[in-house]
Symmetry: C2
Subunit: 328 residues, 2 copies
C-alpha cells in the first residue's frame, strides 16, 4: 500500500516513525511540510526524511509543494495531518478534496475540514469509491469511530457524552485535587506544555465543541456546525464550586453532550459523580456512548500525543489496506 503524507508536525513524524519501526506493508511515495516536499514512486525512506527534517527543518525540496504531492505523487491513500484551521479548514480542506477527486483514500487528523465539510467530503469520497477516515480527529488514541462502525454495529446511538479536551481536564483535576484556583492550574498546565500561550481555544470549550460537531455529524449525519453548540468554558469556575461538588462526592468536568432526541448539543462544566466512568484524571479523554442494545459503553485513553495520534492514523490506514488494497 502506498501513501502520501502532508504535514511533518508531531503527528506526521509519529506516523513516519511507526512506518519505519513496524512491518506494516506501507510504502511512502510522497511527503510534504509547509515549505518543501519530496516525491519518489519507488518509495521514500522514512528514517532518512525524519533525520533531514530534524537537521534542516525541511523534509525535501523547496520547489515541491504539498499541492504537488497531492496531485502528482502515486499513492493509494493520502495522510493529511496539517494544522487545524477551524474557520476555513484550509489548506487541508483543499488537499482532501483534490485527493478524493483523484480517487485516493484519505486519512486525516485535521479537525477543521471534518467539522466544516463532513457531508460534502463524505459524499465526494462515496462518489469516487474511496474511504474518508478521521479516527484521529476526536479522542486521540481512543478508537471511537472504529467502535461505532464495527464494535457497536447494529446499535442505535441514543446519546454521547465526552471529556474531549485534555487541557481543560488537567486544569479541573488540579483545581479539584489540590484546591488550586483556575489561574494557578492554568499556569501549571502552561508550564507542563498542556496549554497554549493563548488558551482561549481550549478553556472556552471551542476545541471540545468542534470534536462534538464531528461526532454528531459522523453518528447522526445531522449537519450541525460549531454555531449550533451551546457552549460554556471553564475560565469562570471558582474553587468554591469545586468544593461544593466535592461535598456531594462529585466533581466538575467539562462535558460535551449530544442527545438528538432532546435537541441537545452542549459543552459546559457539569457536576458529575466521582465514580462515573467519565471522570478521568489529568489529560486523559473519555467518551460514553448510550445505545439501545449495549447500553452505556465508555472508552478512555490519551487524547493527544505523537504516537497516540499515529495509532489512530495507522488503524485507519490498515483498515483501508485490508479492505481495498492488497499488501505489496
Amino acid at each position: 500500500m502506498k501513501i502520501a503524507l502532508l504535514g511533518m508536525g508531531s503527528v506526521g513524524r509519529g506516523v513516519l516513525e511507526m512506518i519505519a519501526a513496524k512491518d506494516l506493508g506501507i510504502t511512502v511515495t510522497g511527503i510534504a511540510d509547509s515549505k518543501s516536499g519530496v516525491i519518489d514512486p519507488d518509495g521514500i525512506n522514512p528514517a532518512r526524511i525524519l533525520k533531514a527534517k530534524k537537521k534542516t527543518g525541511l523534509c525535501g525540496n523547496k520547489k515541491i509543494s504539498a499541492a504537488d504531492v497531492v496531485s502528482k505523487a502515486d499513492y493509494d491513500a493520502l495522510v493529511e495531518v496539517t494544522p487545524t484551521n477551524a474557520t476555513t479548514g484550509e489548506p487541508g480542506l483543499g488537499y482532501i478534496r483534490q485527493a478524493l477527486k483523484r480517487k485516493k483514500h484519505v486519512v486525516t487528523s485535521n479537525k477543521g475540514p471534518i467539522a466544516l465539510a463532513y457531508k460534502e467530503l463524505k459524499t465526494l469520497a462515496a462518489k469516487n469509491g474511496v474511504e474518508l477516515r478521521h479516527e484521529a480527529t476526536v479522542g486521540g488514541a481512543i478508537p471511537i469511530f472504529h467502535t461505532l462502525e464495527h464494535g457497536l454495529a447494529g446499535n442505535e446511538i441514543l446519546a454521547i457524552f465526552g471529556v474531549l479536551n485534555g487541557t481543560c481536564n488537567y486544569i479541573l483535576t488540579r483545581m479539584s485535587d489540590e484546591g488550586l484556583t483556575y489561574e494557578q492550574a492554568l499556569l501549571e498546565a502552561r508550564e507542563l506544555g498542556y496549554a497554549e500561550a493563548d488558551p482561549t481555544y481550549d478553556v472556552q470549550g471551542i476545541d471540545a465543541a468542534i470534536k462534538l460537531v464531528i461526532l454528531a455529524n459522523t453518528i447522526w449525519g445531522n449537519g450541525v456546525s460549531l454555531k449550533d453548540v451551546n457552549r460554556t468554558g471553564i475560565d469562570l469556575l471558582t474553587p468554591d464550586a469545586l468544593r461544593l461538588a466535592e461535598e456531594e462526592d462529585c466533581t466538575i468536568r467539562l462535558i460535551a453532550e449530544a442527545i438528538p432526541k432532546k435537541g441537545l448539543l452542549r459543552v459546559s462544566p457539569r457536576i458529575i459523580e466521582k465514580n462515573h466512568p467519565l471522570v478521568v484524571d489529568g489529560t486523559l479523554n473519555a467518551i460514553t456512548l448510550e445505545t439501545d442494545m449495549a447500553k452505556e459503553i465508555t472508552l478512555i485513553g490519551k487524547g493527544a500525543g505523537s504516537l497516540e495520534t499515529a495509532s489512530a492514523i495507522i488503524g485507519d490506514l490498515l483498515f483501508i489496506r485490508d479492505r481495498y488494497v492488497k499488501r505489496p
Copy 2:
C-alpha cells in the same frame, strides 16, 4: 444473510428479539433449543418462535435436534449460544466444529469451546475460508475483540488488565462502599440475581480466569489454558482489608492480568487506586489494554445481560455480512 441459532436462553432470545425489531438484513433459517428445533429455508418468523418458546418451553419440533439444525439447515453463519461447559466445551464445541467443516461462519458467546480449543477452531475456520468470532465471550457488551482487531490495528499489545466478573465486582463494591462482610454482600448479590446458588465459579475467580485465557489466546496465540492461570478468589477477603485500602485512597478489585513478557497470567484481588479507570462499580466490567502506540486504552460496559450480549453477537454477524455475505 441467513443464520441458524442454537440456544434459546437469555442470549438467544435477545438475538431473536433484535432481529425481529431491527432491519438488519438477517434471515433465520434454523433454530434449536436443548429439546426441539425448527428448520425453514424460506425464513422463520423470530417473533413467532419467541412466543411459542414462552408458551410451551419449546422453540419447535421435538423430532428436530440441534445437531440436525447444524448439519441440515441452509445458513451462512451459525450463532452458537448454548450454555458453557468449561470442562468439555460440549455440546457447543461439537456444533462449532461441524459448522466450520460445512464452511459456515460461526459466532458464539460460549466460553467453553473458545477457552478449550481456540487454536484448533481458528485453524479449522481458516482452512475452510470462514470466520470464527467470539466477541460475546468476554466483557458482555464491551467490543474488546473488535477494538483489538480494528481500532488498535498495528499496535503491539503489551499487557491486559481486566475486571471480568460482574458478580465479584458487585460484592467488592458493596464491601467497600458499605463496609459489608463478604457473606453479607454475597447474600445481597444472590437476592438480586447477580450470584448463583453455588457461587464458586464466580467468587473463586474461575469465570474471570476462563475469560483471561480467551483474551490471551486471541491476542498472543500463546496456547495457554485454565491451569496456567495463577488464581485467587475473593471469598477470603475481610472488611479490614478493604478498610486499609480505603485509607490509602485505594480499593480492592478482582483483577485478571496477562503480561506475556513477564510470564504473568493471574486472577487475584488487587489493591488499586480509586481513580484508576479499571475501578468500576457494581456489575460493570472494564478492560485496560497496554499498547506501544496508543498507550493505555480502557473500555467499560455491562458484562452481562440479554440485549447487551446480543449486541456483541449482532456486531459479529454484521461484520461477517459486510465482509463475506451480500445483503439479500
